[in-house]
Symmetry: C2
Subunit: 301 residues, 2 copies
C-alpha cells in the first residue's frame, strides 16, 4: 500500500463505499471523513463509514496523504476551498466526479500548487446518502484516472494503486476524452431515462396508475436510473455540457431516422438495428460488466 492515511470529503453513496471498502480491503489504511451535513456525519459515525468522522473538513484532511472529494461535481470547487488552509504539503487531492475537465480545473483553481489527480470510479446505484454505500461497489468496475498534463507519475501511481486495492481496474485517460466517453455510457442514458419518465407522467390520456401497473413492459428499467440523486445529475449536465450536447445531437439524428422508418413501414431498417444492438449486450456480459441472467436476475428465475 502506498498511502496509509486517506481523508474522504462527502460521505454519501460513493464516499461511504470508499470508506467501507478501505476497512474491508485495506485494513491498514486509516480513514478520516467529513460531510457538510451534521445528519450525514452522525449516520456515517453510526455505520462506521470512516475510522474518524471529523467536525470540520480542515480537521479531516490535517494528516492525510490522499484526500478524495466525494461531493456533487458542482460543489467540488467549494469542497476544495474548505480544505485549502489545512492540506498537508505533498498530499494528493483526488475526487470521484462524473465529469472531469471542468472538475479538474475547479479543484486546481481552489488549490493552487497542490497535486491534483482527478479520478472517476464508474460505479454507483440509484440510491444515495450515507446509508447507500457498501464495500463491494467498486469490485470489477473501472476507475478512470485523468491526470493533468505534467502530473507526477508517482502521484498517479498512488491513486491507481489505491483504487486497485479496492478491487477496481484502473485506466488512465485524457480528461476531455473521458468526458465524451462518459457522455455516451452514462450521461445521455441518464438524461434519456429522466426524460421518458417525465414524459410518461405528463401524458393526459394515460394515467400514472397505468404507467406504474404496466411498467414491466420495459419502462421500469428506465425508472431505476431516473431515481438517481438529482443534485449530482444536475451538476453533471451543467459541467459536461459540450460533450453531452454533442452526443445528444447524434442520438436525436438516429432517433429521427427510426421515426421515419416507422412512419414509412420500413421494417428492414428497424430489424437491422435491432439485430445489431444484441451483440453489444453480449460483449458487456462477456466482459463481466453486467449480469447475464434474464431481467438482470431480478426475480431469480
Amino acid at each position: 500500500m502506498t498511502v496509509s492515511r486517506v481523508a474522504i470529503i462527502g460521505l454519501g453513496l460513493i464516499g461511504g463505499s470508499i470508506g467501507l471498502a478501505v476497512r474491508e480491503m485495506l485494513p491498514d489504511v486509516r480513514t478520516t471523513g467529513w460531510d457538510a451535513s451534521a445528519d450525514v456525519r452522525k449516520r456515517a459515525a453510526t455505520r462506521g463509514l470512516v475510522g474518524t468522522v471529523c467536525e470540520t473538513a480542515a480537521e479531516a484532511v490535517a494528516e492525510a496523504e490522499l484526500v478524495i472529494l466525494c461531493v456533487p461535481v458542482g460543489a467540488m470547487g467549494e469542497a476544495a476551498q474548505a480544505i485549502a488552509g489545512a492540506l498537508p504539503a505533498g498530499a494528493i487531492v483526488s475526487d470521484v466526479g462524473s465529469s472531469k475537465r471542468s472538475v479538474g480545473e475547479a479543484i486546481a483553481r481552489a488549490l493552487p500548487g497542490a497535486t491534483v489527480i482527478p479520478a472517476h470510479p464508474v460505479a454507483g446505484t440509484e440510491k444515495s446518502g450515507p446509508d447507500a454505500g457498501f464495500a463491494e461497489l467498486f469490485r470489477h468496475r473501472w476507475c478512470i484516472v485523468t491526470p493533468p498534463a505534467g502530473a507526477s507519475e508517482e502521484a498517479v501511481a498512488k491513486v491507481s494503486d489505491f483504487w486497485e486495492g479496492l478491487g477496481a481496474k484502473v485506466e488512465i485517460m485524457d480528461p476531455a476524452h473521458h468526458d465524451v466517453v462518459l457522455a455516451v455510457t452514462s450521461h445521455i442514458p441518464h438524461l434519456i431515462a429522466y426524460t421518458i419518465v417525465g414524459t410518461a407522467s405528463d401524458l393526459e390520456d394515460v394515467t400514472r396508475g397505468e404507467v406504474i401497473k404496466y411498467s414491466a413492459g420495459g419502462f421500469r428499467d428506465f425508472t431505476r436510473i431516473a431515481a438517481s440523486d438529482p443534485t449530482m445529475w444536475r451538476d453533471v449536465f451543467l459541467t459536461n455540457r459540450d460533450a453531452v450536447l454533442e452526443v445528444l445531437g447524434r442520438f436525436t439524428e438516429d432517433l429521427t431516422a427510426l421515426q421515419r422508418a416507422i412512419r414509412n413501414g420500413d421494417g428492414d431498417t428497424l430489424f437491422d438495428l435491432f439485430e445489431r444492438t444484441r451483440t453489444i449486450r453480449r460483449s458487456i456480459i462477456e466482459e463481466g460488466q453486467d449480469d447475464a441472467r434474464p431481467d438482470f436476475g431480478r426475480s431469480d428465475h
Copy 2:
C-alpha cells in the same frame, strides 16, 4: 378451471412459459402446441413445454377449447390462417401480442365468425426462443384482455380465469387505449434503448471497447432491452405505428426542452424534473412491479 384443453401456437419465450406455467399451476389442463420451426418443436418436446408437440397447427388445435397465438404480431394473421380449417366450433382464439388493435383485426379477418378475445401479458425478458421460458414469468404481472365490441362475456371470463390461474392479474381494456398505454410503458422505452445502443456503437471518437468497459455508468441498463427479439419488435413498431409516433413526438419535445436547459445552464429545470421522476420509481416498487434492491439486485449487495 373453465377451459381444460389449450393449444399454444408458437413455442418461444411466451408460448413456452404459458405451457410450463399450465403444467405447474393448472395441472388438470391438457396442452398441445406447435411451432413453425422443426428445431423449436424438437426443443419444446425435450423441455416438455406442452403435453403434446404436434406436427401441424391444425393437429394442435383440433380438440382445443382455447387457442393462444404466441407469434410475433406481424405473423398473427398467418398463424390464424394456419388453424382456420381445423378450429373446433366454439373454441376461443386469443393471443399474446404487444399491440392489440391491428392484431385483433388481423385474427378476426383470418377467422371470420370465430370467438376472438385478444390478450397481452405484460411480462417478458430479453431472452427469446424455446429455451427462454419459465413457469413464473406471469406471476404478479398484469395481463390486459382487449375484447372487441360485443364480445361474449363468457369467453372473456374464460380467458381472464385462465390468466389468473397462471398467477397474473387481469385488466379489461379497450384495444386502442391499450396501444397508447403500451407505447408509453414498453414500445418507446424499447425504441429509445435500441437507438442509444446504436448511437453508441457508431461514434467515431469513442471505441466500442470503451462503451463496453464503462457501461456500468448507466448504459448497460439499456442494452438489456436492446437485446430483445428483433422480429418481435420490428412487428410491434409497424403494427402500433400511430400510438408510437404520437408518444415519440411528446418524448422528443421533452428532450428538446432539456437540451435547451443544458445549453442555457438552467439547473433549476433539470433539478425539478430529476426530483419528480424519483416518485414514479417509488410507486413501481410499492406496487410490486420491480425489485427494490439497488441495481435491481444484480450483485446481491
